[in-house]
Symmetry: C3
Subunit: 407 residues, 3 copies
């Protein structure tokens, strides 16, 4: 361990400094004076702040459920979000700001929104990657995510707002693909577990995300923000209620399981993201919320029993069923609802459905393939893969002076 | 226990699913397309979000002070709020939306505000009810609360905004009446206590409620929101300061007691609720805050010693002195301030005072009587009353895989 | 101890009641009816709420890192903020509201902003002062802070907004000067330490402060709020990233140290405060953030090793390097950036630089001298100085019924 650790010590700061220098230089060249004013002029600060609250505070504590990994969960989340958001602003600037006149005033908010993908992916590999690997993963993922959006825009004429709605799906499947390249922790590992206190901290993060989710979906709406807000609220409400129902039905003693509540309460918000602004009746949002909760809890049951062991994927915080499956359901719901709504205009319907399905398949494929490749890269010896015995361990990365005087 | 528990398992999910189905069907019939747009069009999202933050996050953690009941406090709070808010929207729609043209744009926000009553009542029976009973209580309470407001409106011509200000009083006395029908926990029960960690979590919730309380009162103000905000702030500030003073004066060793700070810091906000928008000088709000704090702390002293043992009421989180007594004070202050203000217009004065007192007596009576009946209903065997030995115990409802590896 | 404690009991509540009475009477005389309306009319409630969130919730938990002092950290923070804010409103009213027509609509928000100075100073003496001393310190500090701003305005023609930006510097150096008059805790004191749980709570406060810091700087900006927000965000992002880098480089084993992340992540926001609205390119804000982080972490290293032992200053929560040094850097950066920007207009340049440096030196000198005197006053026997052995101990001030049943 010492030699391994020394090399870790040698590389992390220089990698961070290198990236920061590159970012500052790129900002110097890419954001001219008049550009900066245009850049920030019409952003809604409330939107930006809400998204920021979610990715920094909400996800930081949502992921803090491992008993010995809470420093790393909140700390590394802060690190990769603030690093990634700079990278994301640059990528948005490069790919979407060709003409400063047709400029999107939401560029910084969108950069914060796209960090959700990174936060989700980091949930899949939580506790198994060192900071070096996390940083590389963040930068690679955010670049690929924007390239994938750019392809969507260029070749499928998908609008920026709509391609951004794939952020949960992209994050979840990218993370899963990366995770498949890491060794699984020993099933008897007692560190891969939560305590009542850490579950409660995670509940704090979950409630924070839950309360701010309507803002998140309204940021992604381009026309009817109000509708997006209240449809999301109704979906979230029903999915939280359903989470309790299904938790009792699926556990052995008929008790509630905290992890079910954490995942399924948010599922409604993920699912309704695609259709939040176009749903015309609250009951449709409510049914989507109910289905999202069902798919999440059944998914968590099936995935853990069948799929994950078969594919040898270890998904620490269950991003597959928390964000992946509800995202899939949302994408399908979008197609179904569009078909129902525009049934009368048959000719354009087929084309639209094709575009939706195309964008969605493209995004998932890109996420899976590049995630797999990223997983391979992260396992290069250069990046100091950590031994399985050191998984889920704060003390491997953080000073613990507390130990001397008792935990 | 097993047989009891099995039946609990059988009933909770089906009750929740039944309610959700009913709610979705009612939403289907009650909210037509044009109605939905009108429904949500002019809501202030900031107001809605602040209230939401308070009822979901604030109360969730405010109630999390019991040492072995923090999962249930935050979890069940989420469950009953999201279930109740749907019920509340439907009730508001049924009772107050006769004519879609004279439509109140704040209907969803008001539904969230009225959930405060449920959160407060659940504080009185915290740890003594199972989820089945909580859900029944929530639905019954929210229906009765809206019926009581409707009676206020119909027979006393009280405006919707003003009848909503009784939300704390109604919640506190309904909860107390329900609580009087439950057996008291053993006075030596070591589970009915807090730990320093859980008290700190509760402080987190309290500070959150404290910061957002001005928003809450401004939502209930119909004319002068700005005044409502700053009067509430001044009242809260003085009541927090006074809480520390009185805590030292009333405890045996002259130390501070955390529970005093939790209750009395919020008392100013409850008291000033009725008069926030009509107070013209900050010093009046400050004196109200001071009196609220005094009544809360003296109340906590007297109630625990005299009234509660006499009436055999056990009030887990002290809602009587945290929300009930300051609410009473606020209602009285409203009458006194109106009398002083409109002294010159004697004829209409008497009528107005009558209306105020009538609305207030009506609300309390309805809360006490229906709360008492609800308490009786909750003790039906069908609802699986839990034995006193299982009070205040998370493990009765939640999976605790953590136990295997040590708390 | 008993006798000491009894006298503590005797004095705290009467001091608080005396202050509250004085404040209410002063509010009565100073805020006439028409004045109150003007007082609150044009405040941005969002700004006020964000600042309030920061000083009550953010600083409350930011300071809760001591293992046995979390009740006092959050509780006394609430007490001194709510007490101080009333005093601050009165001082602002007395000193800056001569003519009600040239009235600053931000007076209440500014009062909340100026409480940052008190929160910071209380960090320097955290755990070493009793509530009596804290209250005296709060009142004295807030009066002197406003007098210092008034001198700045009167004699140096510095605008109110700009003199308010010295709030971090004033708080840090006042706190340090006070702290120099208190005996140092024993270096082997095991109570002057954190636990992983308390460090995590402090992380919660830090992330909260981090997220709301852009609002704070935008409140202090008088022209270009949008620019202030995003420049602050960029500076904070880079300083958080750099915190991780330097933490690895400066600790012995190359591990991260939580306290570095807490301090340095916020440093960027403190530094950029002075120049947030006048920076025209994001890369300048980013470089300031980077420098702020460097100065904070190097400062924490040097101060603890060299300066503090030499001067016998014990700075519990490291306010010198968290707020003092980055504030100094920010003040210097303001001068440098102004010189670069207005290079062409030489005559007025020299005068402006003089004013900047004068205001800055004046503020620091006032803070140091009055802080020192306040420290002397706080050591009067009348104020019941607490023995070193009772430092950092919640149980000295708070009831701990929990102890009976185990911690």
């Amino acid at each position: 361990m010492p030699s391994n650790y020394c090399s870790f010590r040698k590389s992390v700061p220089w990698l961070i400094l290198f990236l920061e220098t590159v970012f500052i230089i790129l900002f110097y060249f890419l954001v001219p004076h008049y550009g900066y004013d245009a850049f920030i002029r019409n952003i809604s600060y409330t939107d930006f702040q809400d998204v920021n609250n979610m990715v920094i505070f909400g996800f930081g504590f949502f992921l803090a459920f491992l008993k010995r990994y809470s420093f790393s969960s909140t700390g590394f989340n802060l690190l990769i979000i603030v690093l990634g958001v700079q990278c994301s602003i640059l990528m948005e600037g490069l790919l979407f700001l060709k003409d400063p006149n047709e400029h999107d005033p939401k560029i910084i908010t969108m950069a914060a929104v796209s960090m959700t993908a990174v936060a989700i992916s980091s949930g899949a590999v939580l506790g198994k990657t060192n900071p070096l690997q996390l940083i590389v993963m963040t930068v690679v993922e955010i670049i690929i995510f924007h390239v994938s959006r750019w392809i969507n825009k260029r070749f499928l004429q998908v609008q920026d707002n709509i391609s951004m709605k794939h952020v949960h799906l992209f994050g979840a499947y990218f993370g899963l693909a990366v995770s498949s390249r890491f060794s699984e922790p020993s099933p008897r590992s007692e560190k891969n577990a939560s305590t009542p206190k850490s579950d409660l901290l995670s509940m704090l993060g979950t409630l924070f995300l839950w309360v701010f989710w309507p803002s998140f979906n309204s940021v992604l709406a381009d026309r009817d923000k109000t509708k997006a807000i209240y449809n999301t609220y109704f979906a979230l409400a029903v999915s939280a209620v359903t989470a309790f129902t299904l938790s009792v039905l699926t556990t052995k003693d008929g008790k509630f399981r905290m992890i079910h509540v954490h995942s399924a309460a948010l599922a409604g918000g993920v699912t309704v993201c695609y259709t939040a602004e176009s749903i015309d009746y609250p009951w449709i949002a409510m049914i989507l919320g109910l289905l999202a909760s069902v798919i999440t809890i059944l998914g968590s049951f099936c995935l853990k029993r069948c799929l994950n062991p078969a594919l040898k994927i270890h998904d620490t915080s269950g991003v597959h069923f928390t964000f992946g499956l509800p995202g899939l359901l949302g994408a399908v719901a979008q197609v179904v609802l569009s078909v129902i709504k525009k049934w009368t205009v048959l000719p354009s319907l087929g084309y639209m459905v094709m575009i939706y399905i195309g964008a969605f398949c493209l995004t998932i494929s890109v996420a899976l393939i590049t995630g797999f490749i990223t997983g391979l890269i992260l396992n290069f010896k250069l990046l100091k893969i950590i031994p399985v015995s050191k998984y889920f361990e704060d003390q491997f990365y953080w000073e613990f002076p507390h130990l001397a005087v008792g935990f």
